[in-house]
């Protein structure tokens, strides 16, 4: 599929299939179309050409919003300024299930269990704006779990999160993936990405590599995608 913002082509001729239960990392330089691709995959944008299927259904026919848990880059939600308790934010995961009906006791229990699962049950009554970056991202994962999502789509979830919390966060993602949840993740840090995901899609407008992590590390995809003169974000090991 291909997608352009006006004249600027962001994603070109990308074709990929995400296997159920996989843990896919999207990587590429800044402005390489990672977020655009993620948005195309979950239906936030429509491709100019090509098509997307979610869980085997064409995007236009896809109605089961609760099957996708989406955690956007931190700036797009209002958790900084809007007084919303953590419990309320997690309960949102039940909204697609409830439709126009009321949120019941069962929904509250599912939300409470999701909060426990991500380890922030004691923060339920705090305004989400008062949480640390890592805790806040856990709250959004809890929202996805409350939604009983089969697919987690995460856009650079640990930007601005300290190193220890980040490690814990990724360990939690590993556990969720082991439990059968498919995860698509954008992460700019190659080291931490390759440590956790089982497959990698390397992107710079076009798809440079898509395969398991081992084959990605052996390939030159990253150097090609970032360009020979481009700065590779991979950390240097002494």
């Amino acid at each position: 599929m291909t997608f352009a913002y006006g004249e600027t082509v962001a994603v070109e001729n990308v074709s990929l299939t995400v296997e159920e239960g996989s843990f896919l990392g999207l990587i590429g330089p800044n402005g390489s179309g990672k977020t655009t691709l993620l948005h195309l995959l979950i239906g936030l944008k429509e491709p100019d050409s090509g098509s997307v299927e979610l869980f085997g259904q064409p995007m236009s026919a896809f109605e089961d919003g609760e099957r996708i848990g989406y955690v956007s880059q931190r700036a797009t939600d209002r958790s900084g300024t809007m007084p919303v308790s953590v419990r309320e934010a997690v309960l949102m995961g039940r909204f697609p299930h409830a439709g126009l009906g009321r949120i019941g006791e069962e929904d509250r229990e599912i939300a409470a269990r999701a909060l426990e699962r991500v380890g922030i049950a004691e923060l339920a009554d705090r305004p989400i704006g008062q949480l640390s970056g890592g805790q806040r991202q856990r709250a959004f994962i809890a929202r996805a779990l409350a939604s009983e999502a089969d697919l987690l789509a995460l856009d650079e979830p640990t930007v601005g999160v300290d190193a220890d919390s980040r490690t814990e966060f990724y360990n939690m993602l590993d556990e969720l993936n082991d439990e059968g949840i498919t995860i698509i993740l954008i992460e700019h840090d190659v080291d931490i990405l390759t440590e956790h995901v089982d497959s990698v899609a390397c992107l710079n407008r076009e798809l440079y590599h898509h395969g398991d992590t081992v084959s990605f590390l052996e390939s030159d995809a990253i150097a090609e995608a970032y360009g020979t003169t481009g700065r590779v974000i991979a950390h240097e090991h002494p």
């Binding site: 989406y70 300024t81 308790s85 949102m92 009554d125």
Partner: protein, 360 residues
């Protein structure tokens, strides 16, 4: 701190939260009751015109309301509440004091604070169009007809504005400024152009600055209907409105009809603005939507609590503002807004919040 001391602090904190929630519930309950009493007044005001046995009941209950107003006068040493016109104005105030802040709480957090102001100005254009149309077609051009036209023009403008902002991809200042000034320009031009040709039976200033005395029987009835409709719609669609306000992208992913709910919110805003405009005037009406919600956001710890506090703060401002206006012979719009700002200042003072709300 020892574990016991920590437990102690915790339980004190829980008790404080519990009593705070209890106080909020009592306040909300009182407002609900007051609203029912006022809706009852609007109902018997309508019923008494029907004639027959139902009309007789209406007249009797209506007299009861007027008597109660007289008793309130005796209590306060005033001579205002014994007049049905005052009771109508108070009823309108109480009802818009609920729906204004209720809708406003969503608008403030969608960073659409000035949309109310814009829609009020389109309503002014609506009034002007109404003046011209009723004048040219030989209708009476009563305030009721004008407000009715204003409802339609404002709702249409709301949808148009939404289209415009969707194309420019955000609720930026520019479309707001264009529609706000454009509709006001249209209104002033229409009224000036036709001033000499048709009789204009109303004072335009009343619409600009609001006037308790211009609240008519039909105007109050419209506000009653729109109050019931807006409260029912917000209750029914609370989850969706909350979700799109908090995280629009995630709401889209969850396959919530974001565009549809945006339209719903903006059309509800248009209706509320026209209803509230009768008391607050075109220029001040946005304050009733924005200021109580901003105050509530300073102290609310959850969105549900913020909504409750918005309505409580809004209602306090309306009641105290109308009272001061009636007793002091002041314009109600100005006193309501100044009371609301005093409540806001108090909330900012009490708040432990470091983040600032952006109200552009």
């Amino acid at each position: 701190m020892s574990a016991e001391a920590a437990d102690e602090t915790e339980s004190v904190g829980t008790r404080a939260t519990d009593s705070r929630h209890a106080a909020e519930r009592i306040a909300l309950g009182s407002i609900g009751l007051l609203a029912l009493v006022m809706l009852g007044f609007v109902f018997v005001d309508w019923l008494r015109q029907l004639g027959g046995p139902a009309g007789a009941v209406g007249v009797a209950v209506f007299e009861g309301y007027v008597g109660a107003g007289g008793a309130l006068d005796a209590l306060l040493g005033t001579r205002v509440f014994e007049f049905p016109g005052t009771i109508r104005a108070v009823a309108t105030g109480v009802l818009v004091g609920i729906v204004g802040p209720l809708v406003g709480a969503f608008l403030v957090h969608r960073q659409m604070a000035l949309i109310g102001e814009t829609l009020a100005h389109t309503a002014f254009a609506g009034v002007a169009i109404g003046v011209v149309v009723t004048g040219l077609t030989g209708l009476a051009g009563t305030r009721e007809q004008l407000i009715f036209v204003a409802f339609f023009v404002s709702a249409l403008a709301a949808l148009g504005l939404q289209r415009l902002t969707e194309r420019t991809d955000s609720y930026g200042d520019v479309p707001i400024a264009i529609v706000l000034t454009g509709s006001f320009a249209l209104g002033t031009l229409l009224i000036s152009a036709f001033r000499d040709r048709i009789a204009i039976g109303i004072e335009i200033e009343d619409f600009l600055f609001g006037q308790l005395a211009i609240v008519t029987v039909d105007g109050t009835r419209m506000v009653a209907v729109l109050t019931v409709a807006v409260v029912a719609l917000v209750v029914l669609n609370y989850k969706q409105l909350f979700y799109i306000t908090f995280d629009e992208q995630a709401a889209r992913v969850a396959r919530i009809n974001v565009g549809g709910y945006n339209s719903l919110l903006i059309v509800m805003t248009a209706l509320v603005v026209v209803g509230a405009m009768q008391i607050l005037g075109v220029i001040l009406v946005a304050g009733l939507l924005v200021i109580p919600a901003a105050a509530a956001s300073q102290v609310g710890r959850s969105f549900r609590e913020t909504l409750s506090l918005s309505v409580i703060f809004g209602q306090c401002s309306v009641l105290l503002g109308i009272f001061l206006a009636l007793v002091g012979g002041l314009p109600a719009g100005g006193s309501i807004i100044l009371v609301a700002i005093a409540v806001y200042a108090l909330a900012v003072g009490l708040s432990d919040r470091s983040t600032n709300l952006s109200v552009h």
